[in-house]
Amino acid sequence: MKTENQKAWFFVLPVLVLVAFNALIPMMTVVNYSVQETFGDNVFFWQGLDWFEQILRSDRFHAALGRQFLFTFLILIIEVPLGIIIALSMPRKGFWVPVCLVTMALPMLIPWNVVGAMWNIFTLPDIGLLCYFLNHVLGITYDMTQNPLAAWVTIVTMDVWHWTSLVVLLSYAGLVSIPDAYYQAAKIDGASNWAVFRFIQLPKMKTVLTIAILLRFMDSFNIYTEPFVLTGGGPGNSTTLLSIDLVKIALGQFDLGPAAAMSLIYFAITLLVSWLFYTLMTKDDLN
């Protein structure tokens, strides 16, 4: 049982100071910009909530938000089941376990722009391995720089390549914590593979899967570097996800007001959806 002790605040103080310095001051700057207009030279005019209204009504924002939700939805419905299947078929003990874990974790430790550059080299027309294989061996016309569908398939495949291992490692951690006795009991009862999965393995993986889905949601919703390096948001605007659009407005056009308002709306949506996911997935535990 935890004891009540207000002095514990002293222990969290360094964390509080460091995180607050990084979170509150920039956040206040963003809020400040979001209600003002500037023509440079540090001259600002009060603008009220106009920027928020403008962003919420703009087709450009709706389109980027739609693409963002589509991207996040696609990678979640591919990565989560795929990750569970791979975790289920991995060896539980022996020499191959560390080999699997290390090779699978490798993509996650590559800097994000290198991931983008690597996939760029992999899919270059005529000299990229994937592109060459598809065009010359399978005879499928594939050109990521011209065809929006090909660009989408590429960025989704890249994310699956990059992050499915996170789901695998988490599910695997849940699986190895199941005592053998559970499986023996299931065998005596003559349970099918599906029943073992549904009533023994899935419930044990639930906590870690919640963490996996939350992390994957947050990170894919904020994804910037990899698709930016790979497609630059193109062809056209077809792969311009929210972050890419935001950076274009903020640093490309230097429209600080609209960019700040968009940042706040963006952050609010991420928070809201994360909270919804979290409450939905932990609802059963509370009842």
Binding site: T3, V15, L109, A117
Partner: protein
Amino acid sequence: MQKRSIIPIVYILFLMLPIYWLVAMSFKTTNEILSGFSLFPQTFTLENYVTIFTDPSWYWGYINSIIYVSINTVISVAVALPAAYAFSRYRFLGDKQLFFWLLTNRMAPAAVFALPFFQLYSAVGIFDTHLAVALAHCLFNIPLAVWILEGFMGGIPKELDETAYVDGYSFPRFFGTIFIPSIKAGVGVAAFFCFMFSWVELLLAKTLTAVAAKPIAATMTKTASSAGYELGLLAAAGTLTIIPGAIVIWFVRNYIAKGFAMGRV
């Protein structure tokens, strides 16, 4: 059992293909790359690697990255340890709210913060230093470190603390000589994750540096745009960025799965 192992094998092959292609490219000459498709390097060359190891603007990129990643890992773990102890052992006013607020910082898109960070760090005069990047990465690494460490500390029975106090240990001595050694694995895992997220992040690191502390990732993006089509060099630089991660991962391989599960399975 044998049939099942096909799935991980296929998956690992899929993971290795783009990495193989990057490594293969790094051993090719620019001529060979541009002249057409070849599955293996025809004229094997180390020229790209020689360029990187002899040009200071290249190898300093690696040194800069390693410096700020190390500073960040040390700061994050050092301040997260007492905080995680407080969260795992005590109830105090606003503890749950504080914990949740810390986690929300993990959700903020880095793109949101890029410009304000630039202004903040310029204003306090540490723009373009390793410390600036290390501090900025604390935003998402400290909450993660607290989360992981709290999970590991929760697994240590409270009796350990009480026995130590009865035996006359002062708090700092107990914390340093008994408690931290008993959650070694947790400290390793937390440090690993801080290393990982600081190493792979580019947007903030690039925004907060100009010349003196420029990370390797930023050097690579400059090359890609300015020097035209030096694919071999880019591939070699990319290959080298994989190595530190691979080394670190080998050391913590037994704790990875546990760390992702935050000790809460």
